[in-house]
């Protein structure tokens, strides 16, 4: 083979490449700017914010707004900061995500590997719940929570979020398990494994990517939910999002913008962390099944 034929068939166009990178850079800055503004202003004193120039870094760095937002800011009647509400959110999110994911996985397992007459109808009905707007179910939900005697409690919020989450988690797991080889289930049946044993020993260990997808999706939605928290939350069950709103929109006293910025970042941090830590599974899980590995 002659040396000339080793040259790349298409020569890289340096100008085009530069334009591409410049565009990407502009968009990256565009998306990161709000985060930059929030972080910078949360580290300034209130006086410095009042002087204007939101984009400038702090002349005098301080972490006091973070401390205030976490444990001292006035929210509602007491000056507790966001901490108790953060704990409320955690107490709500962890069981809601866990239970809705497990139920979704079981639904997906049954709908693909133990199909029965009318399985597709059942799946369509479960899927329909993904498309019902939150507002429509507020009154019926309130009635149900009242009937069960758990209105205004964290348990009540957990129940609502599970009910709403099952549609999505079922969709995720059904589509993932649809491409899971049925012969494996049959082999396990011949080995003597029962319904739950197959689920636990064969299916779940192969479900890593889709478990991550379901957990991230559910975590983000439930953590960020405002409507249900505002509608069904009570003093000891109000989630972080509602508390942040109360903090920012309180009409008494001075508006402590630096504390508000710090509080908003605190409220957004868990979802950000979850995505950074398991985001690569998210992408892998969403594309799994499209190409059989």
């Amino acid at each position: 083979m002659s040396s000339s034929s080793r040259a790349p068939v298409v020569a890289p166009n340096r100008v085009l490449r530069a334009c591409l990178y410049a565009t990407l850079l502009v968009f990256a800055v565009y998306y990161l700017l709000p985060l930059y503004v929030m972080v910078m202003n949360s580290l300034k004193t209130l006086d410095e914010i009042r002087q204007g120039n939101m984009l400038a870094p702090p002349r005098e760095w301080t972490v006091k707004p973070w401390g205030d937002a976490w444990s001292r800011a006035q929210i509602g009647v007491e000056a507790t900061g966001l901490r108790p509400y953060f704990i409320n959110s955690v107490l709500m999110v962890v069981p809601a995500v866990t239970i809705s994911t497990v139920l979704g996985a079981l639904n997906g397992y049954v709908l693909t590997k133990w199909t029965f007459r009318g399985a597709n109808v059942v799946f369509a009905l479960i899927l329909l719940s993904c498309f019902i707007p939150f507002q429509i179910v507020l009154i019926p939900s309130a009635r149900v929570l009242g009937f069960l005697g758990i209105s205004g409690t964290t348990a009540g919020l957990v129940l609502i979020h599970i009910a709403y989450g099952i549609g999505f988690t079922t969709l995720f797991f059904r589509n993932y398990y649809a491409s899971f080889p049925t012969e494996l289930i049959r082999a396990a049946q011949i080995d003597g494994a029962g319904f739950f044993r197959i689920f636990w020993s064969i299916l779940l260990p192969s479900s890593g990517p889709i478990l991550a997808v379901s957990a991230i999706w559910q975590f983000t939605n439930i953590w960020n939910d405002f409507l249900f928290g505002a509608s069904f939350g009570d003093f000891d069950s109000i989630p972080m999002t509602v508390a942040l709103n109360n903090l920012v929109s309180s009409s008494s006293g001075v508006k402590e913008y630096n504390v508000h910025f710090a509080g908003a970042i605190l409220a957004a941090l868990p979802t950000l962390l979850v995505y950074v830590l398991s985001g690569r599974y998210f992408v892998r899980g969403l594309t799994a099944g499209a190409v059989k590995g």
């Binding site: 012969e183 049959r186 080995d191």
Partner: protein, 376 residues
């Protein structure tokens, strides 16, 4: 009494009958091969035996006791799947031991059993690996190990070799045959490969569209096919099936096949072949399908040479010669179809020339063109 008995078995999916009243039985230690084109119901039948598929009629009996209603694990059968179906999250050792683990077999006993099986199949060095780290042939061995470790009453194989490359397939085929001989196990084996069926089976059941075409030993299936479908499906290269007309010549019968650009080839049926006279005597003037295995057509030096017994000869135009190392295949056209003769490797036959071929009519079979039923 038969060891495994399938009685009037019926199975439908929706309104579609996929198994139509099957009756098959084999003795302990038998090697039953279910063979047929795809969609013939052979895998459904295997799944029904395993208990993975319910049945809609008839019964399956093992040692005289009905298996109906028994869960797959309660039937004491082991199955090897086409895709091997190894648990991807478990090591090879755990894959093999999983069934015992569920049955609560103590750990020490499990480990000993796994070691024994690993030694039999020469997979000892793979025990700690995961299925994804194995080659196709190794996965196949592990899948067999998982079946062997149970010492079940029946082994079920669902096209176990179809995912292997040609060389490995032949090796594993030999290995399965050897295992069967050594263990004396009863095996039901599904394949669409008729060579596998011929080489492995003690009995073959040929299926088509859910109906049993023939159930017999490989030799019978090969030499004495029950109908046109079996004759065509079994054997490689396949049987020559030549449109021919039965004619009367004096007190004898003649099989006449048209040829392009020359007179029909007329083969006089020797008087000794009572089978042919009985089957074809009433069909004079009718068209039949004349079936000859390639090896039943041979080569003779000149016309009349080699005649005698059930063998007759005729001169044919050889169109094509295909040396295949061990044999040489010669192709001519009779009755409008290509006819292959299997000759010796050192045969002097050359293409585009005339040679005398011998036809062993004692090994010929005849079918009705309309429905493929056997005439003689």
């Amino acid at each position: 009494m038969s060891f495994l008995q399938i009685r009037d078995l019926e199975k439908s999916f929706g309104g579609l009958r996929v198994l139509k009243g099957l009756n098959i039985e084999i003795d302990a230690g038998g090697f039953l091969v279910l063979v047929g084109p795809s969609g013939c119901g052979k895998s459904t039948l295997l799944n029904a035996i395993a208990g993975l598929e319910t049945i809609d009629g008839g019964d399956i009996l093992l040692e005289g006791r009905s298996l109906t209603g028994l869960r797959p694990s309660a039937r004491d059968m082991a199955m090897v799947f086409q895709s091997y179906a190894l648990y991807p999250n478990m090591t090879v050792a755990r894959n093999i031991a999983f069934g015992m683990e569920i049955r609560g077999v103590p750990k020490a006993e499990r480990e000993r059993a796994v070691r024994d099986v690993a030694e039999t199949l020469q997979i000892g060095h793979l025990l700690k690996r995961r299925p994804s780290q194995l080659s196709g042939g190794q996965r196949q061995r592990v899948a067999m190990g998982r079946a062997l470790v149970r010492s079940p009453r029946v082994f079920l194989f669902d096209e176990p070799l179809s995912n292997l490359d040609a060389k490995l397939r032949v090796d594993m085929r030999t290995e399965i045959k050897r295992l069967h001989q050594r263990l004396g196990a009863t095996i039901v084996y599904v394949t669409h490969d008729q060579v596998e069926a011929m080489t492995l089976a003690t009995h073959i059941a040929v299926l088509r569209d859910g109906a049993l075409q023939q159930f017999a030993t490989p030799v019978e299936i090969y030499n004495d096919p029950a109908n046109l479908f079996v004759a065509d499906f079994m054997g490689s290269p396949s049987m020559n099936l030549i449109p021919a007309v039965v004619e009367r010549d004096g007190d004898g019968l003649v099989i006449s096949m048209t040829r392009a650009r020359e007179d029909a080839l007329r083969l006089r049926v020797p008087q000794g072949l009572r089978r042919l006279y009985d089957g074809l005597g009433g069909r004079v003037g009718e068209e039949v399908i004349f079936g000859m295995r390639p090896e039943a057509i041979g080569e003779a030096a000149e016309a009349g040479d080699g005649d005698g017994g059930g063998v007759v000869s005729g001169e044919c135009e050889i169109e094509l010669v295909e040396p295949a190392g061990s044999d040489t295949y010669a192709v001519t056209t009779l009755g409008g179809v290509e006819v292959t003769a299997r000759l010796r490797a050192e045969s002097g036959v050359t293409a585009a020339s005339r040679h005398v071929l011998t036809f062993a009519l004692d090994r010929s079979v005849y079918f009705a063109p309309k429905d493929g039923t056997r005439l003689a």
